[in-house]
Structure formats: C-alpha cells, structure tokens
C-alpha cells in the first residue's frame, strides 16, 4: 500500500458514501450538501489523476455554480418538499435491482478487458505545458475548435431557454417593452 493508494481508497470511500447519501437522504437540502461532498471527492480524484485544471474547474463549476443552483431550486420549491410523504417511489426496489444489474454488467466488463488491469499510467503527461496545449487545442481549427464554439452556443441556448422558462409569465410579458 502506497500513500497514494490509501488516499485513493479514503477519497473513493467518502465519495461513494456521499453519493449513497445523495440518493438516500430524506431531506433534499441534505442530499444537495452530500452531493457537494461527493463532487469534492471527485475533484480530489482528478488531482490524483494529474488533472489539476479539471480539479479546480470541478470545484468552480460544480460546487461553486451548479450546486448553488440546485440548492436555490430546492429552497424555491421548498413548501411542497417539506412534506412528509415518501421521498422514494413505492417501487424503489425495482430501481435497486436495475442499478445492481447494471453494476454487475459494468463490473464484469471492467474485469474482463485486459487493458483495464493496467497497474499504473504508462507515461507521465507534461507537467505545465499540458495547460497551454489544452488552450491551443480548444481554438485550433484542426482540433477542437468546433466543439469549443458549439459549447458556447449550447450555453447561450441554455441561458435563453432557462430564462424564458423560469421567469413568471407576467414578468415575461411586461419585459422587453
């Protein structure tokens, strides 16, 4: 057991436990907070994978933005959520069975492929140049320019669509003169 392996096991356990709490927690705000713990755990795993940039982006985007959005939505729709009704479907055991079957299939697949048994990374990625390489790749016509600009359009569409949906009908009518 190396130190890295221990760190991985602890982080993985926390991430997974938090994930279970997300789906099991009766209070929705608690579920959202557990989701944040789980996301932070994934960020630590990104660090273990030498993806520094993705790790901080994970925190900025997921914890700093998406989680806040989810908490806002939970609070805005709270009155009904405070109810004492069951938090899960009556047929939740069906869901459990499907999830377990899915897990079994995935595990069987993972353990079969020989390439996945690889004990460690083959090559070290470049430490610092990786970031500027990523930046160039995003705007290079021959590489990922199209996905990059499409992501921008996607975000624009999401912004406009979500705004059109979320605003109350009367506000939407009186807006825009």
């Amino acid at each position: 057991m190396t130190v890295l392996q221990i760190v991985f096991l602890v982080t993985g356990f926390v991430t997974l436990l938090a994930g279970v709490m997300v789906v099991a927690s009766p209070k929705l705000v608690h579920a959202a907070l557990w989701l944040i713990v789980s996301l932070a755990g994934v960020a630590v795993l990104f660090v273990l994978l030498n993806a520094n940039f993705l790790a901080v982006v994970q925190v900025v985007v997921y914890i700093g933005a998406i989680a806040i959005l989810i908490i806002f939505a939970v609070m805005l729709t709270r009155r009904v959520m405070a109810d004492t009704g069951p938090t899960h479907n009556p047929s939740w055991w069906l869901a459990l069975i499907s999830a377990l079957v899915l897990l079994g299939g995935l595990l069987a697949l993972i353990l079969q492929v020989p390439a996945f048994a690889q004990a460690g990374p083959t090559a070290q990625p470049a430490a610092d140049s990786g970031l500027s390489d990523l930046g160039t790749a995003l705007v290079d016509v021959n590489r990922f320019l199209l996905p990059f600009e499409v992501a921008s359009v996607l975000l624009l569409a999401a912004l406009i669509g979500a705004m059109a949906i979320a605003r109350p009908a009367d506000a939407a009518e009186e807006g825009g003169e």
Partner: protein, 118 residues
C-alpha cells in the same frame, strides 16, 4: 506530480480545525442555561409569524442562472488565456468570438428585463 497539492491538503483541514477549536472553546467555557424564550427564532423581539419557509422570488434563481452560464464560460477561457502568447491572431479572435456569443445572452437578458430587480 501531486507535490504542490500536499500543502493545500494540509492547509484546508487546518483552516477548518482552528476555528473549530475556537468555537468549541466558546461552547465549553461559556455558560449554558437554555430556556424556551432563548430557543425561539430571533426577530428583534417580535413574535415569529408563519413558518420559515416563506416563498422566495424567482429573480434569485434568474441571477444564479446567468451566473452559472458565465462561470462556465470564464472557466473555458482560462486555458485559452494561458496559451494566449503562443497563439496566432485567428485563435485569439476565436476566443473573443466565444466571449461575444455569450455576451449576446447577457444582452438578451437585459433587453427582456430579466436584470431588473422589481
């Protein structure tokens, strides 16, 4: 490779632990005589009306929404900014185009009056 993070991995828990010790000290050393009045919700002495979960306006959500989209956008641009000095002009312009596409979203929100707080 993980070297620079070791310090962070120490500093963050310590940053959490030190205030925790201070607060714990306050809890242990301070007197503790709870009663029903002290346990009530504080509203400058006025009795609380209704429950805590009053409905909030959706404007808060709208601002959070615009924030999320722009946050993702800014984060996308950071690798671009790092690579900026090795770039040709057209690559720089592509990054600016990325910015301006989203600026259109801000303009839309502005025109639609979603940025008004009324």
């Amino acid at each position: 490779m993980h070297d620079p993070w070791v310090f962070v991995a120490f500093l963050l828990p310590i940053g959490l632990l030190l205030p925790a010790v201070a607060v714990l000290m306050g809890i242990l050393l301070g007197p503790r005589k709870p009663n029903a009045i002290k346990g009530t919700t504080y509203e400058c002495g006025i009795e609380t009306v209704g429950e805590t979960w009053v409905q909030f306006r959706a404007s808060y959500y709208i601002f959070a929404l615009i924030f999320v989209v722009f946050d993702v956008e800014a984060v996308f641009l950071f690798p671009w900014a790092v690579a900026y000095q090795q770039m040709q002009l057209y690559m720089v312009l592509e990054g600016v185009l990325f910015l301006l596409i989203l600026a259109a979203g801000l303009l839309y929100a502005w025109r639609k009056g979603a940025l008004e707080w009324v």
